[in-house]
Point group: C2
């Protein structure tokens, strides 16, 4: 491949900046028929707060969604930074030629019906690559579900979502899976920077995207769903540089025989040996996860929490069971639970009842208040023998209290006033907020991640504490998995990758 | 142990029926001080729809929560089936003696401060066991967070929850973890039969509870959190009989060194070798899971879905990525994805576009409607080469549409009327309901579980379809894990446990 002739090197940064942060965009195949791709994409672009110019292109229409429409990109007055294509595959060659004539140097080809659809599509894909190359143009796709850049309020995807701008970039070789992760990111308020569905990667590859994201300082972490890489060696070189600056988390699909065959037929990529990929990722300092949920959880933590120096964990538990489940998971995932030594024991002796277990996990047994919990968390976080802390079961109790009050309401005579109950609930919520805020402060002061495990059934939650974000999960093993991945990265940064 | 003298054998069923379905209950240590255990437990018992008589016992009070209070159980007029104790440990011996005098044959000892609290507590625990034995009484605990029976609307726990009665029984050696699972069960509407926190198991053990649950025909599945077993051999014998009739799912904690030590110190139980437990569980036909989330998910599926005959899975996917992630997980968890053969290929040829992948997972590519999806699911479910089906990505799209409409609303000119948007949303919801209802019907007709994977981030959902319940998960690997566990059980029932 002659990268330079397609602008993939050299001015990659400038070209992709124009793609993800366009000042003006043409939507080729824009439509006012609800449900059509050209309608979904145009709605997505103009429905949020995108400030650039938008030009619907459709030869049969005067205006679409209230915007003046043009028969061709050639009819658009002024410059256009990006063209998004939602027209049948066979019309793409001419569409690209028009772009080149118009001086549009970047495109997103949403249209499917290329390599993934058989021999004819494959030939068509080769043709559009050639056209782009000859014309000095670049494009992402075909067969992609689009791109987004949250800080630019630019979403060219079929499933627009109100996204909070942030530091996480997502690159996905699967549109459906990528957009699902994007939705979760939005709903969990993780904070997105860039989303890129790479589709068939006829021209721009996941590796190119990674290189670009490495160059953008506002991208603080990268999450990738990969099926296969066209150029593993190049990807490795790129990743190696970037992982020193920011975490790259990869879900590599196709580790099974069936999965690997499916991956090949899906985007037509060569899946390669899974073991070889694992070795490569390890060498490149990439954090490798196994499931979409893990990808989201680890990406959220990596985006908002400090990286632990190593793999030593302190656990505080509100009840034995959770502590044991967490300890089991630690051993499986390579975390170590240091035994409590004289100094930390004496500190905790001053806080806990006589018969406390004097072990890690520290069981806080029976009752206690927010201040006591926080003091224990602080003692653990400041203990030099641990690199991260998990407090189990102290957050999320307000949900329990809500249920309790619902039960109490049914008792004849209404013995406690509504005010009293609401005051109790308010007190509980305030106390939890005090703990969360304390965790945020301690995280900042000690540079150690503190991942809370709540009692609710909501999975990952991200809480803004005023001292940075705090993460809570709904089950101990999820918190342990996150810390384990972060610890591996922390050791890698210190050249101790294991 | 002389089980008979404590009524653990022989009349176990009658005694435990009185414990879980009491006609009358005394709450010893009842309190009107919010937050006290005696207040939490009494509120929990009387706040829902429990129809039995409730007698608060507290020598200092005339009435508590609107009920007449008694100085001692001896002062209660008429028979009492069950006493629940929430008084300091040192007062339990006299409390039990009073029960025996009164003819109360069953108790729940919530109070802590026994074996788990050191040597003195251990002696006290031995004392109360001796008292119960001598008096022909039985009790659960001490150091338990209580029990519940949903069909009897009886909850004697500190965290009352509105529970839908059903077939699942939960037995937990950890109060906190057990009540968390109970809450999830309630919130996810899985349907509960009995909850039992076994605490220190001074007298009644998890094995006794399992035996009891085996005898109750209305209990259709059992989920257990175990740390250690006092009598492994006996438990094995009990389980072996029961698993032939109903599934028993166990999360055995303490598989790590630290976890195993913590388990010992937690409820004072001997944890034993984890490998030995695994071998025993396998021999007994017990389904063993690794995490609390898995325990809940598998229990929900086992309670509501048919058991597959074996481990052959058909997958339909809306997009390649999900299918590959699911296929990867299949290989790891022992499921097989049979290759499509001539007959099923021709059936699907009639439904899908020319270039469909002709593989399992079946990629439905691009667009389609509810009827088409249902026809594909039906083709897979009726195919004799598979025992279970997972449709990926066809449920949960209404959430996407809601987001889309929110975006659409922002467009100047409001081109589409609110009515049109609501009609679209309604149509989408109806179409999903039609699919879910079809899945329910097919599940019933074919006897094969069909576990949907949705696009939302809510984890497990249970949907009532009018043809029985359908389960949906939010990530492919979760669905695969559930089916894999069910398949192992199905093979066990056919003497093919692997």
């Amino acid at each position: 491949m002659e990268h330079d002739s397609t602008g993939k090197r050299g001015d990659l940064r400038a070209r992709l900046d124009r793609m993800f942060f366009p000042g003006s965009v043409a939507v080729v195949g824009a439509s006012d028929v609800p449900g059509k791709w050209g309608n979904l994409i145009l709605t997505s672009i103009i429905g949020w707060r995108y400030q650039g110019k938008v030009f619907p292109v459709n030869p049969g229409k005067e205006s679409i969604l209230g915007l003046k429409a043009y028969p061709s990109v050639l009819d658009i007055p002024g410059d256009v930074d990006l063209a998004v294509f939602a027209i049948p595959a066979r019309l793409i060659p001419d569409g690209l030629r028009d772009c080149i004539r118009k001086g549009i140097s970047a495109a997103v080809v949403i249209s499917s019906g290329f390599k993934e659809a058989g021999a004819e599509g494959k030939a068509l894909e080769e043709e559009i690559v050639e056209i782009a190359r000859q014309g000095g143009m670049t494009f992402i796709g075909p067969n992609t579900m689009g791109i987004a850049s949250a800080h630019h309020f630019f979403e060219a995807i079929p499933t627009p979502t109100e996204i909070h701008p942030g530091g996480l970039a997502i690159v996905s070789q699967s549109g459906n899976l990528g957009l699902q992760i994007l939705k979760w990111t939005a709903h969990k308020d993780i904070g997105l920077n860039i989303y890129a569905g790479t589709g068939n990667e006829a021209l721009l590859t996941a590796g190119d995207l990674l290189q670009y994201l490495g160059q953008r300082d506002d991208v603080t972490s990268v999450a990738m769903y990969l099926e296969g890489l066209a150029d593993g060696r190049e990807f490795l070189e790129t990743a190696r540089t970037i992982t020193r600056k920011k975490p790259v988390i990869v879900l590599k699909a196709g580790r099974s025989k069936t999965g690997s065959i499916s991956a090949q037929s899906h985007t037509g990529s060569l899946a390669g040996s899974y073991a070889a990929y694992c070795a490569m990722f390890k060498q490149a300092g990439i954090i490798q996860v196994r499931t979409p949920t893990e990808l989201l959880n680890v990406a959220a933590a990596m985006t908002h929490l400090p990286v632990p120096r190593s793999n030593r964990l302190g656990i505080m538990t509100m009840g034995g069971g959770w502590g044991i489940v967490a300890a089991d998971e630690c051993e499986d995932s390579g975390l170590v639970l240091p035994e409590l030594t004289g100094e930390i024991i004496s500190r905790l002796d001053g806080l806990l009842p006589d018969y406390w277990n004097r072990r890690n996990p520290v069981d806080v047994v029976g009752e206690g208040d927010a201040d006591m919990y926080l003091q224990i968390i602080e003692a653990l976080a400041r203990w030099e023998e641990v690199d991260a802390v998990i407090p189990l079961g102290i957050v999320g109790r307000s949900g329990y209290l809500e249920d309790f009050i619902a039960c109490q309401e049914n008792i004849d005579g209404k013995l406690y006033s509504r005010e009293l109950k609401l005051a109790a609930l308010k007190g509980q919520i305030q106390s939890e907020n005090r703990i969360l805020s304390g965790i945020g402060r301690l995280q900042k002061e000690t540079g150690k991640p503190i991942v809370a495990v709540s009692l609710t059934d909501t999975g990952l939650s991200l809480i803004d504490t005023g001292h940075g974000k705090v993460i809570s999960l709904s089950s101990p093993e999820q918190a342990v998995t996150i810390i384990a991945h972060m610890a591996r990265y922390g050791r890698y940064l210190r050249d101790k990758w294991d």
